[in-house]
């Protein structure tokens, strides 16, 4: 039985069959381009479309947030700016320098406190796996301008600090709960940044958190 290799011919360079060098290096170059160069280029590229006054972010179907002008929308979409529908499960990330403001929305049938407990448990599992030490403060209430009451806590890690806020909002879009009843929409806001930097943006961050609302 024959064996399908190309190594039987003596035309070699440094012990390697010359015919295999070109295509192999091509693949290696592609891997370096995609796995190393592109992430480096991305890391050195700055945002060109900062948010202007009056913009509204579609956090999920039927839920919005008013971003602070001058911040950048890293992921997600502005209301009226996209063709694709925003689903009941969606993620938005706003960035200002090294401060990240992340919003995760998904159907959730419990209370805001239960949502924060769930988020805390997931974070604890992840931190345990990473061996990271993070301490959190007591919980406190946060109320949006629309009157929705959420629950928040602050955290401090080795190099970053921030806050986690949980809301549960009535959502006309989310449905499919038990017996066909509409479910509610959980919204988790995580603000994180290097120690000291968050306080400089405190007013903007608070305003953004309080602007979370359902479509009337």
């Amino acid at each position: 039985m024959a064996s399908a290799t190309v190594t039987s011919v003596g035309d070699r360079f440094l012990g390697v069959d010359r015919r295999t060098i070109g295509p192999s290096l091509l693949v290696l170059a592609l891997a370096v381009w995609m796995g190393v160069v592109l992430p480096l280029v991305d890391g050195r590229t700055s945002y060109r479309h900062e948010i202007h006054e009056g913009a509204v972010v579609a956090v999920a179907d039927g839920i919005t947030l008013v971003p602070a002008s001058g911040w950048n929308l890293a992921s997600g979409t502005l209301v009226g700016h996209s063709r694709s529908p925003v689903g009941a499960t969606a993620r938005t990330e706003l960035v200002e320098g090294s401060v990240h403001f992340t919003v995760q929305a998904a159907p959730f049938s419990g209370t805001a406190s239960a949502l924060l407990t769930r988020v805390d448990q997931i974070d604890a599992d992840l931190n345990h796996a990473k061996g990271a030490a993070v301490s959190t403060t007591d919980r406190y209430g946060v109320t949006t301008t629309q009157g929705t009451v959420g629950v928040a806590e602050d955290f401090v890690g080795v190099s970053r600090q921030g806050s986690v806020v949980a809301f549960v909002l009535p959502s006309p879009a989310a449905s499919g709960g038990p017996a066909g009843r509409p479910t509610r929409e959980g919204v988790e806001v995580v603000v994180a940044g290097p120690k000291g930097t968050i306080s400089r943006h405190r007013d903007q961050i608070v305003a953004m958190i309080r602007s979370v609302r359902t479509a009337s």
Binding site: M1, A2, S3, A4, T5, V6, T7, R12, G15, V16, D17, R19, T20, I21, P23, S24, L25, L26, V27, L28, L30, A31, M34, G35, V36, L38, P39, V41, D42, T45, S46, Y47, R48, H49, N72, L73, A74, S75, G76, T77, L78, H81, S82, R83, S84, P85, T89, Q104, A106, P107, F108, L115, R118, V119, I122, D125, L126, A129, G186, E188
Partner: protein
Amino acid sequence: MLAEGRRRAIEQSGWGEEFRLVQPHNLAFWVYCLLVVAGGYVLAGQISIALAAYSGALIQGVISFALLGAAYLWYIHYEDRYTTVPRKLAAAGFVWGFVAATGAFALLANDAVMSLYSKRFGASFAFDWGAALAAPIDEELAKGAGVLLLLVLAPGLVRSPFDGLILGAFVGLGFQISEDISYAWIGAANAFGEVAAAQTTIVVRILASIPSHWMYTAVFGAGLVWFIGRPDVPARKGLGAGLMLTAMLMHGLWDASAAIAGNSVFGGIVPTAVAAILISVFAWVYTTTQPLEREWMRDLMAPEVAQGVVTPAELGALAGTRSQLRSYVRTQLDRRRAERVLGAETELAHQIARDGGAETAAVRRSRAAVLEARTP
């Protein structure tokens, strides 16, 4: 004359050759290993997150998509019914798609390109078109790179565009199953750890599994072989490049379905129409790449017809299309026996190829098995 045709068919097709991955003098072997290890390292980081916080979703994803993967592996092997791709080569392709193409290429590049689109053109543009403009290029090149490496590792085995199609399908399937599993636990992660969200993702991914990676990379693989050419298949640069671009376009169309449809009433129609186009393109490539393989099967088995082991009608079925095979079986009085005979004849073809056309004891046993299969 017939024996010469058989010898030529075996030589041209590489049928019966074994695949050996470990080839220290072949640079493709080292690059393959390096990138599988690199991809494995990246995936291990992902899996550790999934295990720590979303283990239920991860396990459900692994079980569901392992079953789906097994079904598709069977199907691809079922369609590869002429000069079949050896299992070890298929496995190497699957592993490349599952580990290297995802971990060492796509995960890193997709994130970077999506972020670059967002930075340059705005997040709303990236929200609509980012996936459709990033993934088709990154992922098809990542998977196609695997087909190219395996072609360098097994030049004697990948001898026709159909071989490229089948090998590409295995690479694409590996990628698809890897991506499916990650989508299952990411679905739970995006829903505050809710396992039900993972189940929804699993159902959606299974329903959308036909116009997916196995199909794109099959088209890309056939195109790559045509682009490069093989000893008995002259290079057709235009057709080859066209098919590779078509694979990317198909992928992009699928990813852009939601943005194309927008909020219109065509929300459900667009993905269905796109899926129909993708399947039609794949079917065209599949039927266009088959004739050479069928010719090799015909040449290999022609001496058996001369010897009276195989009938001309059976050879027509063996070397025919799937519908010709079905038509032949339907016309037989005893269909089960006809299928049994064809199965034994297929095994005889493989044995003849494995033994390089020589008259060995194993070939004689396979021939006897054909005669035995004929007995009621």
